[in-house]
Each structure stands twice: as structure tokens, then as C-alpha cells.
Subunit: 421 residues, 3 copies
Amino acid sequence: MTGPEMHDLVRRLYPLCRSITGDGLRRTLDVIDGSIPLKVSEVPTGTKVLDWTIPREWNIRDAYVKDAAGNRVVDFHDNNLHVVGYSVPVEATMSLEELRGRLHTLPGQPDLVPYRTSYYAETWGFCLSQNTLDGLADGPYEVRIDSTLADGHLTYGEHVVQGRSSEEVLISCHVCHPSLANDNLAGVAVAVALAQRLSDPWYTYRFVFAPGTIGAITWLARNRERTDRIRHGLTMACAGDAGTITYKRSRRGDAEIDQVFAYVLKDRPHTILDFSPYGYDERQYCSPGFDLPVGSLTRTPYGSYPEYHTSADNPDFVRPEAMEDTLETLWSAVQVLEGNRRYQNLSPYGEPQLGARGLYGSLGGRSDTKQAQMAMLWVLNLSDGLHSLLDIAERSNLPFQALADAANALRNAGLLKEWVD
Amino acid sequence: MTGPEMHDLVRRLYPLCRSITGDGLRRTLDVIDGSIPLKVSEVPTGTKVLDWTIPREWNIRDAYVKDAAGNRVVDFHDNNLHVVGYSVPVEATMSLEELRGRLHTLPGQPDLVPYRTSYYAETWGFCLSQNTLDGLADGPYEVRIDSTLADGHLTYGEHVVQGRSSEEVLISCHVCHPSLANDNLAGVAVAVALAQRLSDPWYTYRFVFAPGTIGAITWLARNRERTDRIRHGLTMACAGDAGTITYKRSRRGDAEIDQVFAYVLKDRPHTILDFSPYGYDERQYCSPGFDLPVGSLTRTPYGSYPEYHTSADNPDFVRPEAMEDTLETLWSAVQVLEGNRRYQNLSPYGEPQLGARGLYGSLGGRSDTKQAQMAMLWVLNLSDGLHSLLDIAERSNLPFQALADAANALRNAGLLKEWVD
Amino acid sequence: MTGPEMHDLVRRLYPLCRSITGDGLRRTLDVIDGSIPLKVSEVPTGTKVLDWTIPREWNIRDAYVKDAAGNRVVDFHDNNLHVVGYSVPVEATMSLEELRGRLHTLPGQPDLVPYRTSYYAETWGFCLSQNTLDGLADGPYEVRIDSTLADGHLTYGEHVVQGRSSEEVLISCHVCHPSLANDNLAGVAVAVALAQRLSDPWYTYRFVFAPGTIGAITWLARNRERTDRIRHGLTMACAGDAGTITYKRSRRGDAEIDQVFAYVLKDRPHTILDFSPYGYDERQYCSPGFDLPVGSLTRTPYGSYPEYHTSADNPDFVRPEAMEDTLETLWSAVQVLEGNRRYQNLSPYGEPQLGARGLYGSLGGRSDTKQAQMAMLWVLNLSDGLHSLLDIAERSNLPFQALADAANALRNAGLLKEWVD
């Protein structure tokens, strides 16, 4: 999937009115299923999931504030951010004065519409720009939200790329934000592109597209007994802005995924952050009961760009080349993860005679040694079960790929085998 | 106790001729007992204490060097530093030439009288300023030390503030120095002020006022089987000079008391020193057989100010506001110690639903999060028995008090309980 | 052995045509035996040693390239580097064109003759300067190598300085390079000088003079069951150039020998390198099956000086004073190794009364403390079985010798004994 193709996916998903439940979420999973087949789960309202309960399902058809002349001064059909997420239905006529407490703006960014939700406390409201609010007359206004909040389901989707091993890499994207592009349609698009690119991998890759918080909690509740298969994981979001890559470490801080990203990002502009229990669904995966090795990959992190959670986070804010860069960085990390093994030197007493096996130049005395030879010596020297190839790359300062090639050559020569604990 | 009140205590204690035994030491404990009740122990001469033996008790009534005209050119009643501590009695007439070997001065600080003692080798001598010595004629001089060195007792005092726990915090001050104010009457005054301020603490606080070295050794010998109750400790000295706070780590180097002072001193001018087996009675508490978690709190450390162990270390050298600053620093450390607990998250799988428990704002989507909410998330995430609140403060960069408040709120909501090993 | 004496040994060894087998190697061991008695081992061709096999023995009497006029334009008797090591015999007449593939030069250093060998692939060739090659006419040339490659032996020598302990320090020098002075006759000379200087040491010192790679592998194969006696070790090479000392850590990285050299080199210009599985025979000693605590001591390391493996590495390149400096550095390390013990404080509760044992000044109150007293306090405080004297030196910042002296005094006073695990 190229950058423009990922961008096209973002554009198609953008208008859908996603929330933590409802048909906007279902249609989003349908669109993704057009690129990679999804197994979709529906979990009924009222189901207990860990400490939480699946809420009622929310759906919305229309919402507006109409002035005396019948003009929609705030219109859900212009931008679904105009309605506070999970607003209960309302049909009323009221003055601006009465309405004001229901109106949310960003006074510091007067052109922009903010994004607000209220999942767990029943309320209703509208979001609009400060400029629009400033232009409103005293009223009266016809106010209408044509929504339903009723028993139904929470929906999430999974796509699995089966690997040779049953150990899993988890890629998790939140899909509950309505018309916001970088957060998180860009993350979704990059995840879809990765899923398409993977071919006969070692690990099994599980992609989870679920609403934030309650969706991850639901997935964890329903997969509690199989989380030990997850050897590495990432939440993906904000994958398309112009900023540089940010990797946030897992709660463990020294998980293999943390080591891999530190290695892969070494030669690129980047930021690495320590874990904190805020952000995306790494909060749930890294809760102390699970403590999964799940980091978070973004470009500019949540809350750190002015367009964040406003109407300015639209498809124009997201760049094809930035999504490509995120994808390539992720791909590099996947390549290292896939190749990162521990080996056992089968001839550990002294160096084995590489020359006799055709693995080594035969004319001695030259002071220049080739990288491939050094890589073989390093792999042999540190293949004692304590060091992975990535550990050896860090200690030797040789490229990971050179060490992976050396390990292959040595394995073919019968000098190395995979370590068994 | 205010700074001026502490300073008044220093002034009252200053003239007493303290030593490692004797009535000057007893009168010192009497004065302290006027502020906080002391349990006084008397240990007889000859008692074996660890590797040591309680020496004979020393008392002195008068001492002088009188010139031919009958003038006291060196007079114990001017300043008790004039006599070498533990001097045996002497009554003799001798020339300056004969006397010279018994006279101690500070040629580099010609105005000042040095402080000298000889506890464990019988001798006698006088201390005087170099200027006085330079003005002395050839003699003869009448020399008299009216002292006694006889079987008696070593005296020390203890004050205990009973806490809810039987685990103890030890605060130890040496009280053997005669007329020296910063070393250690200032330390005594700050300890007394702390004892008065403590009210229904968690830990039991034990204040030990004992002569240096032999006193601490005696206390350890008589409390050998109960030192395991000491969870944290401090020696206190030099608490009133104009310098900044110095904390010297315990032998362990990573004891909780070391961590607490590193945290409390972060935002104040300070010096932190590694342990060394020299200084005050931390030498004894941190001997390898005991290895107690005892640090040392001073302002300018021993030997590092020119007034140290001279007649210039008088009450004018000690400042009320410096003692107040030492007390407040110590109080901050005590507050952290008292509140520093490890908890168990009772809902460790995923985040518990804080909003449903009234612990969290309900309107989602806002990018600003409040410190109190972050504190709850951090406490929940790291309450796995491995992290104390102070560990969480260090990792989260949140103030300790915010985390303690969060822990309280979470405990009240049934989400947290104290960790039991 | 003085610097000039070591330099004389280098000069005497220089002309011998060493290789990994053969009479040049034997004569080299004979010369060393003139300074320190060697036990010489001969291992037959075909013997299996670890993953390797002892090769045929190579000997050479003459080799030359003669022009049409009968002049030797390349002559083994000028410099034994002119023949590729282990060249098979040849007797032929050929044009320069035919010969060119057999001629090795250093185009970037046109005055110098390179050093080349081919132990494990049968071939023959000549090394010469680029300048000489450029001056050669088209030929024809008479080409002759009067060598033999036949069943025989691999030879190595050992010298042991018996210590009070059966634990060993291994010093290993490669002796397979023909006329190259710094690499490694200088290393041999410094090792010989150390062997002569050692007198009644604690450790047993084993000096191994063996050909590189195959020699160390042979020694390891024949001493496999006794390598656990080796507590510390060094390979020695390049010990006489004008550069500063380089110490390369053992594979373990934190072996006592690594700690000792870090300590000894602290106050000298030096470089410390991490282990890498390339270089001298530390490659074999530090292979993962053995993982011996063997570092490497050189001045400028292999490959890092332009004279390396060329005819410019001749006795003039090696300096007597540089070899002396290497020897003294090594001697300092040996002194620390010899004295580095762990002790048990026999009076660990409180400080023992040093004054009563005559170990401490008796007049208290002085602010200056002597290094010897601090050394005693540190040794007592940290002699808990976890800290060696060198650990104490690092923590206390006191000189190692002061601590060793203190330990002696304390042991004589019955306050300390050697730690038994």
C-alpha cells in the first residue's frame, strides 16, 4: 500500500460518525474489511468486561441548532464533531442564554470546532467554533438531536496474519474517534498496510481495531487466558502528521519491542518516551495485571499538536509521505523482530576453523577484516543462550542484518542451532 | 519550637563542660529533659560494651595556669575548652619551657582556642590561643587541674515518641562536646524541636542523646537484639551554621532514608555525600555487623568550616534561621517517610472505571488532564508491591503529596489496599 | 631486565624465520630458554585439537626471484617477509606477467614489504615493495622456494613461576610471526622480564609462548581439564611502540583482571577497549566454552599503526623505554592482583577500639585524620566478604597500597582474617 493509497483510505473513513458503539463503528470496520478481511465481534450491552460494563449502543441520524429564520447555524451533517459524542436525544426551543451551557468552543482557537464526548454520564451538547458562537443572536433556537441510546452491542474487528509460530505480535488501533484524521485514521491505514505487506512471517500478527478504552478492555476480558501468547505489541495512532516518529516504551521499559525500536530509531530523527499510564490503549495492555510488552508508535503524540481533537485534524492534515515513513519504520522494526533469535554455538571451545568450511578468507596477515567475518566471530562468541542477535548487534556495533546473515551461514555450516531454553 | 527558641536552648547548654562521662553530661540531659522527657541510663565504669569498656568517669571543678603575679593566664572558668578533655589532676610549678609540651594552640588561627581530648591515654594539658602563648613570659607558672578520674558511670538519655507501628526511626545526637555550639548543640536543639512537633506518627521515633563513639557503642550493646526495629535513622550534628544542608548516605547507599533525602533535597541547595566510615556515630550504626539504614544530616559537615573544633564555634556562630531551615528540611523528610507506603491495586486487570466511582471527570476528549487524575493512574499502574509511593513519585515526576492523596482516594474507593509481603 | 636488555632480546630473535611450526619457532624457544627455562612441547601433525588439526610442519632454507643476469631481485636472505608463509616448494622460470599473481605489495606504502601467510590453503608467493616491483623488467625470472611441508610437529613452550597458591595467572604470547619486532617480539621480551622479576608470588604464573590461533588452541586442547585454575590472564603483544598503553577487556568485561587494569591505568595515559572476538589469542581463551578471564595488553593495538605487518616493524621501531613502561604497568597490575584479597572483620559490631591496640592516635579532637587511619576504618567497614581490597580502594578513593597495609596491620592485631567462602 503506497502513501497515496493509505491517504485514500483515510479520506474514505473520515466522514463516518464513529463512536465507542454504533453503526459508524460498524461501517468503519466494513471499509477496513475491504482491504484486509476482518473477524467482527459484537458484544451485547450490559456484558461485564473486567471492571467495566458494555454501555448502551449510540446511534445518531441528525442534529442541529436552527435559528428563527430556519437556518441550521450548527449542523451535524457539516461535521459530526458538532455533536457531543453519546448525546441523548433532545428536541426543544430555547434562547441562546438557555443553550449556552450546552455549547462547547475553543476560545483560544476561535476558528476550530472541538471534539467532546460523554460516554458514561448522560448529557447532550453541541461543539462549534468560537467565531460561530460569537455571531449568534439571542434566539430563540430550535434544538434537535435525533439520536438513540439503547441496548445493542459494542463492535470490534480482528485480522490475523498466521505465522509459523503461535507467538503473537499485537497491533492495536482505536477506531472510536469520529471525523479526526491523524487520530486515528492514519494509524488504522498504516496498520492495514502492514497487514497487507506481511507474508509468511515467523510470528503471528494480530491486528485489533476496537474503540478506545472500553474496546481494549473488552478484547482483554474476552482473551484473558491467551494474553501470554503476546510476545510483542504496539498501539498505533497519530501516524500521519508531519512530525518525527515517537516511540513510547512499554511499562516494562526493557521489553524486546522497546529494544527493537531503540535500535531501529537510532539512525532516524525520533523521540523515545518512557511509559506513562496515559495515552492510548497501552494503558490497558500495560495495566499491572496484564503488564504486556506493548509500546506505542506515533508521530507527534496525542495532545502535542494544536490540531489535536479539533476540526483541523482533517485529511489535509495527514500526509501520504508521513504515513509511508511510519510504515517503513514499523517495517524495519518488524524485520528485526522477525530475525531476532538466540543461538547456540555448537563448537564453543576455541574458534571453529571457518576457513576449512569456506567461511573465511585463507590468506592471513592482512590487517583489514571484512564485516561478514567479524559478524561470524561475534555471533559465535556470544551465542551462549544469553544473547540475542540484537544484543550482539548492540555490543558489536555491527548492523543487525550482517549478524543475521552470519547466523544463517553458520547454521548452514552446522556450527549454530537455535537456542532451546 | 521556633528558631529563636532553639537558639535559646543552645545558649543554655553552651557553658556546661560536657565530656563522654560526668556531671556536665548529666546536667545537659537535665536541660533537655526540661523540653522533652528523657529516660536516662547510667552504665557503670568497667562494663564491657561490644569491643569497648566503659571508662572511668571524669569530673572537673577548676583548672588554670597562674603566672608569678598570681594572674590566671589560662583559666578553665573563662572557657572549658582550655583544658584537654579527660586530663588527670595535676598540681605543679614549672617554667614555660617545661610546660610547653602540655600546651595546644592553633598557629594558623592565632586568636582561637582549640578543642582537644584524650579519653583513652592518661595525660593532661591545656589549650590556648597562639596569641596568648606568644605573650607568656618564661615563668615559673603554677599549674593546676582539679579533676577526678574515678569509677562512676557513662550517662545517656532517650526520648521516645510512640507511633502506631513498632518500627522505629532513630535520631541520634552526640552530647559529649563541651562549649561547642554548632557541633553539636545545634543538632540537639533541632532534634528536640522535631520531637516536640511529632504528633501521633506512624513510626515510633527514638531520640538518643549520648556521648560520641562510646555512647553509641554502649547504646548498641544494650539494644543489640532490638536494632532490627530500626527502619530508618539519622545522626544529627552541625545543624545551625550558615552553610547549605549536607546529607551523607547510609552505608547501604540505597536505603529508603537515602532515597527520601535525595527526593526532599532535590529542590533545595544541598550536597549529598556517599557514606564513609568517618564522621559521627553513623560510623557505629553502619558498622558491618549492624549495617543499619542510618544517614547523617548536617549543614556544613565536620572539619569543613574554619570554626570547627575551636572556640569560634560559639552560640554566635549558630543562626536561628539556619536551625529552622534544618528542622523544616528534616520535617519534609519525615512527612515523606511517614506517607511512603506500598499498595496493592485490587483491580489490576485494565484500568478500573474511575468515572463510575466519582474519581474522574466524565467529559472525554479534552487534552488537558489534571494532576490528581494522573496521580491516580500512576498509583494504580505501579501498585504491584514493587513500588512505593516515593518510587512512583520518582518515575512519574509528580509531587509525592499528590500521589499520597491519590492513594487515599483510591483506598477509600476500595481500589487499593496496603501491600502485605 | 632493563629496557636495553629487553631490546637486545628482540634483536636476537628478530632474524629467525618463525611460523606456526618449524625450526624457526624451535630456535625462538631456544633463545627464550636462555633467559627463562622452558618446558617445550611437540605435538605431531594430524593431532586433533578442538575443532582443528595440527598441520604439516613447514621449513624453508632459501627463496628468491633471480633476473636474467642472475641477480636476486627478491631474496629471502635479505628479509624472511619476502616469502609468503607456508609457501609450498617451487622451481620455475617465468615472465613477470606470469609471476605477477604471486607477488604481494603495498601500493599505498611503496617502500615496505608486506607480511602474508597461507597456512590452510596450499599456495606459494613472494612479498616485495611496490618500488621493487615497479623496477622489474619483463623477465624471464628464475623463481625458487626451497621449502618443505611435511609431517612433523607443532612446538610451544611454557615457563611456570610456582606460587603459594595453585591458582594461576596466564600470560600468553604468540611466537609465530617472522621478522616483525613489535608484533610480537616486544611482547615476548616483556613477558620474559616479568617472569624473571617474580619472586615467591601468591599466584602461580604460567607463561605460554605458542604460535597464534593454532598454538593457543593446541594448548587449550591439551589443558582443557585444568583451565579452571586460571583466575586471571593476559595476552601480550605490541609491547614496544611509542604509543600509550591499551588494555582490552576480557569477554566477561567485569573480571578482576579488568578491574585491576582499570585501576592501575587510571593515572596513566591509556585506552581501555571492550572485548571483541578479534585480535590475539584472547579470541581463543575467551571463546564461549572457555570464557576465561583473559584480557589483552598492548601499546598501540594490532592494525592501528602504519608499520603493522610490514617490514617497517623492525627492531628500530621498538623502544627500550616503551618496553620498560609496559613492564612497569604490568608489574603494577601484578602487585594489585597479588594483594587483592577479601577479608572478614572479626569485630564487626561497632568499631573495634583501635587506640587500645596501638593502631590509632590517642589525642582526639583533631580535624586532620591520617590516611592510614582512614584506610583501617574503610577496611574494617567493608570487610564483609562482599568487597575486595580493590573494591574498597575504588569506593574509598584511597590508594590500594594504603589499604593493603591497613589490612596487614589489622590482621596482625587479630581484627581481620582472610574470607573463606
